[in-house]
Amino acid sequence: MSPIFYILAALTIGGGLAAVLLKHLVHCALATTVAFAGLALLFLQLDAQFAGFAQILVYIGAVAILIVFAILLTRGAELPKDGVFSRTWFAGLVIAAGVFAVLAWAILQSVRSVSEQSAVPVVTVHDIGNALVGRYVLPLEIVALLLTAATIGAVIVAMHEKERPKS
């Protein structure tokens, strides 16, 4: 375990915690961006260059911008009067802590049987492109269809409604 891993893990976890805990929604969006950046750096640390740069492009470039747009369009930048946490916050916290406890227990129990170190895999973008249009061409087409449908659907859902005769 290198010190770089600990720094990146702390950055990611700190960003995630800040995103969940901060009061102001715009601050939450910025903290989410920090968490996404930490995850992209963790991907690069895992020798997954393509996934790391895809993460930067998709999450920091698109999803974070979308979240900021949604916050500003819904006037979420104003602080609500009756707190930011829901009435059942304690139950949610207990459920999340329980899930983490079960996951951590399972990881610490089971990972010992896996080999400790493995050679750095040499995977170029060329290999990934060949795999995408070779073995994985059907999922690629389905994802393209899904993205088209989702884009059209999002536009139709968020499009301004026509004025109704009543209400």
């Binding site: 891993f5 893990a9 990611t12 976890i13 995630g16 995103a19 969940v20 929604l25 939450c28 969006a29 989410t32 968490a35 996404f36 995850l39 963790l42 991907f43 895992l46 997954a48 996934a51 993460q55 998709v58 999450y59 698109a62 999803v63 979308l66 979240i67 747009f69 819904t74 979420g76 609500p80 930011v84 946490f85 829901s86 059942t88 949610g92 916290l93 999340a96 802590a97 899930v99 996951l103 990881i107 610490l108 990972v111 080999s115 400790e116 493995s118 895999p121 040499v122 995977v123 995408l132 994802v143 899904l146 993205l147 989702a150 884009t151 659907g153 999002a154 536009v155 968020a158 409604e161």
Partner: protein, 104 residues
């Protein structure tokens, strides 16, 4: 003591728990979506970590799964935020406690 794989898996588990807590605890619908995004990202970190430390990284299975997962998450974010904007236009709030009817 812990192997590298266990370290990455623990970080992913902690991030998943944080995202779950965010989705369950906050009132604002946009924060719930942020929590869901954090959970999806934790799953991606698991996929990449298993790809890296698995027996056959040259087969690219985990990497491809992570890439397709990122694409699906982007579509989900677009539709989810569009729904939040539509609900805000309809009911003039994004607080989930106040959205208590499905009929407009």
């Amino acid at each position: 003591m812990t192997s590298p794989l266990a370290g990455y898996l623990l970080v992913a588990a902690l991030l998943f728990a944080i995202g779950l807590a965010g989705a369950l605890v906050r009132r604002n619908a946009i924060l719930v979506l942020i929590g869901i995004e954090l959970m999806l990202n934790a799953a991606n970190l698991n996929l990449i970590a298993f790809w890296r430390f698995g027996p056959h990284p040259e087969a690219l299975t985990g990497m491809m799964f992570a890439i397709f997962s990122i694409a699906v998450a982007a579509a989900e974010a677009a539709v989810g935020l569009g729904l939040v904007i539509a609900i805000h236009r309809h009911t003039d709030t994004t607080e989930l406690d106040k959205i208590n009817r499905m009929k407009g």
